[in-house]
Symmetry: C2
Subunit: 272 residues, 2 copies
């Protein structure tokens, strides 16, 4: 991959990069489109990165379908797929970690203590392998997007990070490889996440500014679904993820909750 | 610097890199020579990196002479000097750290707890800025060399790390920018470090294999000097810095000690 990237750069081709864990859906493919619009060549990676899964999380069960993925990526004009195996990425001597302080502790970092360290370390590796001019990540992983941007700036990666909007199913559920985990009843219940975020938008349009009122309403709506178990509902500053008490300027409203054993996240950004 | 490096790479020039903290001496210049022999273009950096100095260490006093440095580097056919200021390297939003576990805790890491984290973070930054094909470090900082090699392999930097031998004054003292700290009597006493390491070599040539006997002899010799205060004397495996009890295979014998307020390190590798 490094040889290919060096050769492309020598030919003055710009490289767009979309790192994924595979089980490609329309959300991933929208990132490929963004990459193609912003670079000459798009490289995707598929790597279910063990170090970003915690104990008891779904590393083993994480859905995989490489043949389908290849087909979908090719059809969407992704030129290269980097698809390493775990031993190639982590030798038995492996000892290095890349960590973005503070930002990795909030929100998902509370329950998933080592998750973002796993993400930033593997993304640093992938950037050194693919050497992209631009890299495209999804807004669904809002905290990840902020952390990656911070890392790229701090470590002087010569890579422009583009965050692309959330792609949703017709009923509003954010697309995720993990949606296949949902049993039929859970799948229906799960639409409440986006519905509660839309309700938030209406409340804010109608003048509500108090975050506890907003959070309470989201909690009410999600709790009304039998199969739902809330992890967090938070309103934070979009730049540093610091909690806010009042909707003012640009605010990220982020939700994480379980349906069955699987954990789902979603978010909206509101501006007043 | 990134634009220059991209352009050089496009021209198929290979880039050699010698990162330094300046106050250039013959040790640094020998690294420039190694770089020139192994690449088309040599880039040096001068950056006294605040994050690798601990509280109470000599960040402020660290000797600096940029005009002399420029002259010496130019004369030795170093083509580019990257010489950033602290604010350009660390914005007020800076939050990222690169850390090599385990290896950073031993030897110098015991007294200088955050030192190697500072080193690996700034070297990761410099590699992303200079994009070198090869990078040359000195064997004097033996532990740093091992840690950097680990980081480069773990994070998939496309950079070959070359470790160049220690350059010494006529009386054997390892060259170091910090040697200017030594008062006249201390300067004379400091030769005991290398003399004790040479003595070790003789002992091993004469069949001594027991590390405690060797360490005791080094301790005796250094302690005989009034101005010396020992930090550590260790015999460790060259690959993972694990302590050894017996000289067998390749062993790094490393010494750190103070003369006055300043700290000096030196080492030899023995093979039996």
């Amino acid at each position: 991959m490094q040889k290919i990237s060096d050769e492309l750069r020598r030919e003055k081709k710009t490289i767009g990069f979309v790192p994924t864990m595979g089980y490609i859906h329309e959300g991933h493919l929208s990132l490929i489109d963004v990459s193609n619009r912003n670079s000459d060549i798009t490289v995707a990676s598929i790597f279910v990165n063990p170090t970003q899964f915690g104990a008891g999380e779904d590393y083993r069960e994480y859905p995989r379908d490489i043949e389908m993925d290849k087909m979908l990526l090719k059809k969407r004009r992704c030129s290269f797929l980097f698809y390493p195996d775990v031993d190639a990425m982590y030798s038995k001597y492996f000892k290095t970690e890349v960590y973005v302080k503070d930002l990795s502790r909030f929100l998902c970092g509370i329950r998933r203590k080592t998750h973002f360290k796993g993400v930033t370390t593997v993304v640093a590796k992938l950037f050194n392998i693919v050497k992209p001019d631009i890299a495209v990540f999804g807004q669904k992983d809002a905290q990840q997007a902020i952390i990656i941007k911070r890392m790229v700036e701090d470590l002087n990666y010569n890579t422009k990070v583009i965050i692309a909007p959330i792609i949703r199913e017709k009923d509003g559920l954010a697309m995720s490889s993990r949606n296949v985990y949902l049993a039929k009843g859970e799948r229906k219940d799960a639409t409440v996440i986006y519905n509660s975020l839309k309700e938030t938008e209406h409340m804010i349009e109608n003048g509500v500014r108090n975050v506890s009122i907003i959070v309470r309403r989201i909690r009410e709506m999600i709790s009304s679904k039998k199969s739902a178990r809330i992890d967090y509902i938070k309103a934070v500053e979009t730049k540093d993820l610091k909690p806010v008490n009042e909707i003012k300027g640009e605010v990220l409203i982020a939700v994480a909750c379980y349906f069955g054993k699987a954990r789902f996240i979603d978010n909206i950004i509101v501006k007043v």
